[in-house]
Symmetry: C2
């Protein structure tokens, strides 16, 4: 692969000086157009040590209007990052709509390093490459442009460069004891890098292999390639072609076919008041103890609550957190996104609230809004919600890989119970704020929701993050059941 | 002081049950009204160990619509927090407009602890109390409501409580080895706490001393007090009365009186191309080396660039960062705030971008917008910008106390030079994006800006964070001068 980047390409100073002004003007134009179109641009600058990645970044910073460019490196991990799922640090640096993020090595540096140094075996490495391809595909499908550059030097050229760098006062040399290490293992790094590039060279996010021996050639080529990528993307935005899937917009006719997983939830479950008191006290006490145990074991917990309007999500959450020390948890209600959230991929706002190790985040509604309200109400297009099942499963897999205990509850009630609760809310002064016209509107689409819920459970109830369908016609039963399941999950997690 | 909270107040279960529903309904109403009014509410729950602060927080979480409440504790500091000025962790948890933040101990716990344990001497302690009062006054002036509760127990009651807690399965006991420690030093903590409460009991943010022996009395009293505080604040929002200050809206008549600090900037300074090349290379090389030295010394740098439109801020920043490893710095352009930023105190968006130890943040425009464009264009009211000199000085003092090197540059050009640059921008394709109608409008108000700049320099050029007024009619001179001053500042910082 890399022989294609050892051809001795170079540019004279004259050639460079002649080409630069026009390139620069067009890059600025493209940047403005991208801002207006709300296009987020991810530029990955990776490659061998000594190839001048820092110089490239500085050059881009100079060519673009720097006010729309953020540069990110990932070498100095904080504990807030190590204490969260691995990709959290990348999510927190993804560019909002209309701006450019230049990422040093992005998610590639660590992957290559881990394989060469044998922290990852082949299987782990392969899984990581699949993860990378998945994430990039997802970001591109979500509207981003990803342009990846690999700056290459031959081994000989690299040695020469390192010798020279040692003498250059602006060499960034102070940081680079590892440069020498990489250079010593040139072949190993080249072999693994070639494999990584091949495996992650996709139609959505292709790699551009750049011969980096000559600075002028390197920079101008990167500038031109990036320009073309932005212009091309702006000229032909991906269309929202409906995916050819079997996702049913509504339930089929015919009694049998209309049965969903919800019909198997036994809504007859009830708990008498006395029994409720005993049990809730028992489980709260258990949970309090276990929460400290998982805190000391540094296990994070993500619990999400979905359910019909008026199914009792808020009340259930309150019963649960009452058992927890207020220092340990955070409840995140999901309503309309802020503009910073709306300027990112829809999963960004959930990544942002992930708990550190040992802590809890409880989501009152969640990322499943994508395949529920957004699907049913048409806020997301069919391709958008259809691909999100896979995206969500991968997101949750990443949580679980990091050690997060993922708890997913659907609080189920039937239409009659909902009607009774809506009416009660309208008649109770301190509950009136809980009922709105929207609730009544949603209620009209009960069957569409039923179908969407069914598909959601079918597609996203995984062995690592199963759905719990909670019979919630009786609030007491539902609360105790949620607490019981939480206790069970924590006990299980502490065994592992 | 505390004898007022040892009077044996209590409430029967009946009294509590009778009062609770109405209180709850009114709290919800008040919360909704606060949301509509965009009022941020800070509730501080502090007090002696064993007084049940956690229970209070859980109760508030239950009474309010929990979707508008965030709970924050500050016991488990992350490295992202310790590597920034001390108040950063509080700023990141301040509530946005319309929501409620319940803070455990807030900025009080540490202060009291540091004095009792003699980490702070009297002088440091006094300075901290002044800081607290300043910050609270600033937040309240910025539109927030701060309500502070101190939950008190007598020494005898505390011992009894601790004995009981040990046996209670939901006691939070696992966390509280320090509880015993506090209890042993009851008198010391009581003495220091009383002093702290007195010193920080201001009209803007008064303390409410709560007798915490009886849970029902404690919770109901806190609920009622909080309700009244919110209702009162909503009924009578602070008016924007003009402060009686001598801030001059424009320069006085008469030649002499019209002289500003800007008139002493020698705009005749120039650098020839050859000399420029030598010097810029020299300082960039120095800066590169020093940047790594300050990185290893874990010193953060905050540099801000202000100046007339077209004074060359962007170009100067680019020359500076070219000397820096891209992993070390971040450039933050200040334009219109996002909605998350607009929902906070105006300094919040700057706090949010403060660098960690060893890193740089370069602000392209800054918090000084408050006393420049916002003042001149009337985006901030007179009381708002008038009080911000003090707020800004305190903000920068906090940076410096943490060890941040603060660099403030004003790039100065005269009107003729600006006109020439505006015209050139309009005639150069890749510069046209840099000039807008707004620039021409601002230019019309040259004299008002001159007056505002003068006052800004007078009031905010402190010994710990001085302004550097840079003659910038000659771009080359300005760039070299900024680099030279940066080099000098780093050298100085490394000595200390």
């Amino acid at each position: 692969m890399f022989e294609a980047a050892e051809l001795g390409r170079k540019l004279s100073k004259n050639e460079f000086d002649e080409a630069e002004p026009e390139l620069r003007a067009r890059l600025l134009q493209a940047q403005r157009a991208a801002r207006q179109a709300g296009l987020p641009v991810v530029v990955v600058i990776a490659g061998v040590s000594g190839a001048g990645k820092g110089q490239v970044v500085n050059r881009l910073f100079e060519w673009f209007d720097s006010r729309g460019v953020q540069v990110h490196a990932y070498w100095d991990e904080t504990d807030e990052e190590t204490q969260r799922p691995r990709w959290w640090r990348f999510w927190r640096t993804l560019p909002p709509a209309g701006s450019i993020a230049v990422m040093f090595g992005a998610w590639y540096t660590q992957t290559i390093y881990d394989r060469v140094e044998e922290h990852d075996d082949d299987a782990a490495h392969a899984a990581e490459l699949t993860r990378i391809a998945d994430v990039e595909r997802m970001l591109v499908a979500g509207g981003a442009l990803i342009v990846k550059f690999w700056c290459h030097l031959s081994e000989k050229e690299q040695s020469a460069r390192i010798r020279k760098l040692r003498k250059d006062p602006q060499s960034h040399w102070h940081m680079a004891p590892e440069t020498v290490h990489y250079a010593k293992r040139y072949d190993d790094y080249a072999r693994v890098s070639a494999h990584v590039l091949r495996e992650t060279d996709t139609a959505e996010a292709p790699w551009y292999l750049i011969e980096a021996t000559d600075r002028r050639y390197r920079d101008l080529t990167i500038g031109r390639t990036l320009l073309e990528a932005i212009e091309t993307r702006l000229a032909a935005p991906p269309d929202g072609v409906e995916l050819k899937t079997s996702h049913a917009p509504s339930l089929p006719e015919g009694e049998d076919a209309r049965i969903t997983v919800l019909d198997h939830v036994d809504l007859g479950e009830v708990l008498e008041r006395k029994e409720y008191r005993d049990q809730i006290e028992h489980y709260q006490s258990e949970l309090n103890r276990l929460a400290w145990d998982v805190f000391h074991a540094r296990k994070p917990i993500v619990a999400l609550f979905e359910g019909w309007d008026a199914s009792g999500k808020g009340g259930t959450i309150r019963r649960l957190v009452r058992a927890l020390d207020a220092r340990l948890y955070r409840v995140v209600p999901i309503a309309a996104p802020t503009d910073e959230e709306a300027a990112h991929h829809y999963l960004w706002r959930f990544w942002r609230h992930l708990p550190r190790d040992g802590y809890w985040t409880l989501f009152d509604r969640s990322w499943y809004g994508r395949v529920l309200v957004e699907r049913v109400e048409g806020f997301a297009t069919q391709p958008e919600w259809a691909r999100s099942y896979h995206e969500i499963n991968d997101f949750e897999a990443q949580l679980v890989e990091h050690g997060v205990v993922v708890l997913k509850f659907w609080l189920h009630i039937d239409r009659e119970e909902q009607l009774a609760r809506f009416t009660a809310r309208e008649n109770t002064p301190y509950k009136q704020h809980k009922i709105s016209k929207e609730d009544w509107r949603n209620r009209e689409r009960w069957d569409d929701y039923r179908s969407a819920i069914n598909e959601m459970v079918v597609r996203t109830s995984t062995e690592y993050a199963p759905w719990h369908l909670i019979p919630a016609n009786d609030k007491r039963f539902a609360r105790v059941e949620v607490l019981r399941l939480a206790v069970e999950a924590l006990q299980e997690a502490l065994k592992g």
